[in-house]
């Protein structure tokens, strides 16, 4: 009886991914083939190395599908709930980190954020808001309750990182100030 174990499901996904990469992504998103002829000589094209990487994934997939010995590990529903929460918290906080400064400058400053990105307090707005939100939310999620202690830890940690990276070095910019 052929059971769809976790390993086999992973194997089938790997085979599908490898075929998609090798037959669709690489041919349509690369300029040269596996091997090219240039000035009378054969040279390795840009497609060869990623195709071999896809072959690695394909072989792994086949081996997993043929695996009869072990069921294999897989993420549980709890695991998925946890990582979705982390993705949500991380995603929102990084967006806050990226956009809080420019939005504040648009609303409150006379100059655009680009010109203020190395000037206090503007340069700290995104990092402080995004950073504090990230640490506070993650602690609150793991402890299943928000607390003043979590907020204090978040504020202290962000202040510590600013002291570590921003204060001693003139050439270091905190996120997102280097590429806004």
């Amino acid at each position: 009886m052929w059971n769809l174990t976790a390993n086999r499901a992973l194997g089938l996904a790997c085979i599908a991914f490898a075929l998609l990469v090798a037959l669709v992504w690489i041919p349509f998103d690369t300029d040269t083939w596996l091997v090219e002829r240039k000035r009378g000589q054969y040279i390795v094209g840009d497609s060869l190395a990623p195709t071999l990487a896809a072959v690695f994934v394909l072989i792994a997939g086949v081996l997993l599908v043929l695996d009869r010995k072990s069921q294999g590990e897989k993420p549980s529903r709890d695991n998925l709930a946890f990582i979705c929460a982390m993705i949500g918290i991380g995603g929102v906080c990084l967006l806050v980190m990226r956009w809080a400064g420019p939005v504040a400058a648009t609303l409150l400053a006379s100059e655009e954020y680009r010109l203020l990105r190395d000037t206090a307090p503007w340069k700290y707005i995104g990092f402080v808001l995004g950073g504090v939100a990230l640490i506070f939310s993650m602690i609150a999620f793991v402890e299943e309750r928000p607390s003043w202690r979590a907020l204090l830890i978040a504020l202290a940690a962000v202040a510590g990182i600013i002291l570590l990276y921003d204060v001693p070095f003139d050439d270091i910019l905190l996120p997102p100030n280097g590429d806004v």
Partner: protein
């Protein structure tokens, strides 16, 4: 200029460390920045090793951008930065035993075996003695391993440079990747998958064509994925997510998160050392032999060292004596000597072949790549009569390892025992702070929000790999070696006039390829359960 011999290079390496830029002087004696940085690195390593949830990888990831900002991109920066990383590597090996012995919480998989006898000793009121045994065994194993590294790496490099041409080097890289994929992690198939994904990721946005391949035309992908984002994301951020989840489950199960408590005190006598020395000797040999093979982590060394020690102890113990697992010093000695002796030997493949064998070696390559002027690999060990600055750096690096060992012998043990208090820091508070610090350090290094997003994304991939029982190490090593593998293969293909069978024409290359296939084949037939 006089011709330079091997001894001259060794001496120049020592001088580069001690006579480099001065940090300060005590009573007219100059202390160089490199010596100071090795000391700082060692202290930081012991601190992070003793703190559950942290480790050498996190410490290296966070400190690298600070070090590069502080020292800049010049040849003078190499030894202080690499020396610091060496110090972190060695310190964390020693510090890792603290939570394992005091609180039965192995910070890393290789410290698990230390808990088996260390924690029962702590419970029996011998925590301090267990820590002293662990320190003695760990530093002895590490020192032995370093001696083997210093003696073997140059000879291996000379052999490689003398006998291996481009096709053989390509085949050797393929053999290394296959070996790592096959022996690391739950199964050969999952190792291959991890390695394949690492290779695929590194080929995005790179290549020789005008159009950056596999980039979908997106600017964020067209410069390739930053190596630091991929490595730190997979190794550090993925591990943070997994660790946080364990704490979340603890809260949901019991409503609280367990906090460990301190206890116990004892002295280490010469009779104890005599008792444990045979176990240390055997485990150091086992760890060094295993460490010299790329990709095999210290967990396997610890397991084999412990099992070997257990057999010997069972044969020799008196009927009423405690057995392994009941709190015997020999158990700690066998484990710690084995897992610590892996770290030095793990640098043999990186220094002699340019193939990183573990995560610490990956960070040494990252640092050397970022600063420039030192490319770990066989070319480093060219004993040319004209000055080869890379060889001086290599011997300087060996000198920093000796300094780190001396510091570990002298002050490492005392520092390790003072740090038991760090175990009390709640991990649920520490890990989110470490996550932000890691993301900030990624940004500082790359100055691009896309690197932060990449790091976060690879962290999620690392988390899923962990949940599917896939080791992240083959991914990282595939990512680090992928570019070199392609370049070497391109050159070998062109040099052989476009021969498609260039990997099979030379007997050595054919042998390497055959070995690569054999390693995967035999691993598929007999799945291993080794996690680095």
């Amino acid at each position: 200029m006089t011709d330079l011999g091997a001894l001259d290079y060794i001496w120049l390496g020592v001088l580069a460390v001690f006579q480099g830029p001065e940090a300060f002087s005590i009573l007219g004696l100059s202390v160089s920045i490199t010596v100071l940085m090795v000391t700082f690195g060692l202290i930081l390593g012991i601190v992070v090793g003793a703190t559950p949830g942290l480790g050498s990888v996190i410490a290296m990831a966070i400190s690298l951008p600070i070090l590069i900002s502080a020292f800049g991109f010049n040849a003078d920066a190499l030894l202080p930065v690499l020396g610091f990383l060496i110090g972190v590597m060695k310190g964390s090996t020693v510090g890792g035993a603290v939570p394992a012995i005091l609180f039965n919480t192995p910070g890393t998989p290789d410290a698990y075996m230390t808990t088996l006898d260390g924690y029962p000793m702590a419970q029996a009121g011998k925590a301090r003695k267990a820590l002293k045994i662990s320190h003695f065994s760990s530093v002895t194993g590490d020192t032995f391993s370093d001696i083997v590294l210093i003696v073997c790496a140059p000879f291996l490099a000379i052999l490689v440079e003398g006998y291996l041409d481009l096709p053989e080097k390509t085949a050797l890289l393929i053999l290394s990747l296959s070996f790592i994929a096959a022996v690391v992690g739950g199964s050969a198939a999952k190792g291959l998958l991890s390695c394949g994904l690492g290779l695929l990721a590194v080929y995005i946005g790179t290549g020789e064509d005008f159009y950056p391949r596999l980039s979908f035309g997106a600017p964020a992908l067209s410069d390739g994925i930053p190596i630091t984002a991929a490595v730190i994301g997979i190794l550090v951020i993925g591990a943070i997510f997994a660790e946080l989840e364990e704490l979340w489950h603890q809260t949901r199960r019991t409503g609280t998160i367990e906090v460990a408590r301190d206890e116990g005190d004892q002295r280490l006598h010469w009779a104890d050392i005599r008792r444990i020395l045979p176990y240390i000797g055997r485990s150091a040999l086992i760890g060094t032999a295993i460490g010299a093979l790329p990709g095999i982590g210290s967990t396997l060394a610890a397991t084999i060292g412990y099992a070997t020690g257990k057999r010997r102890h069972a044969r020799r113990k008196a009927p009423g004596d405690k057995a392994f697992g009941e709190g015997v010093p020999e158990g700690i000695a066998a484990t710690e000597a084995a897992n610590s002796s892996v770290s030095g030997a793990n640098l043999i493949p990186v220094l002699s072949l340019g193939i990183p064998g573990n995560t610490a070696a990956v960070f040494l390559i990252l640092a050397a790549d970022s600063i420039g002027g030192f490319n770990p690999g066989p070319a480093v060990f060219k004993f040319s009569t004209d000055l080869n600055p890379e060889l001086v750096i290599a011997f300087g690096l060996f000198t920093t390892m000796i300094i780190a060992n001396l510091l570990n012998w002298t002050v490492g043990g005392a520092l390790m025992r003072w740090l038991g208090v760090l175990v009390r820091i709640p991990k649920q508070h520490l890990l989110p702070v470490v996550l932000l610090l890691t993301l900030a350090s990624l940004y500082v290094e790359e100055t691009s929000m896309s690197a932060v997003w990449f790091g976060f994304g690879f962290g999620i991939l690392g988390y899923f790999m962990k949940r599917f029982g896939i080791s992240p190490l083959p991914f990282v090593i595939g990512f680090v070696l992928g570019g070199r593998l392609e370049d070497t293969a391109r050159q070998a293909f062109s040099a052989t006039g476009g021969d498609p069978f260039f990997l099979l024409k030379s007997p050595i290359a054919a042998l390497f390829i055959l070995a690569a296939v054999a390693v995967v084949f035999f691993s598929v037939r007999k799945p291993k359960a080794v996690t680095p």
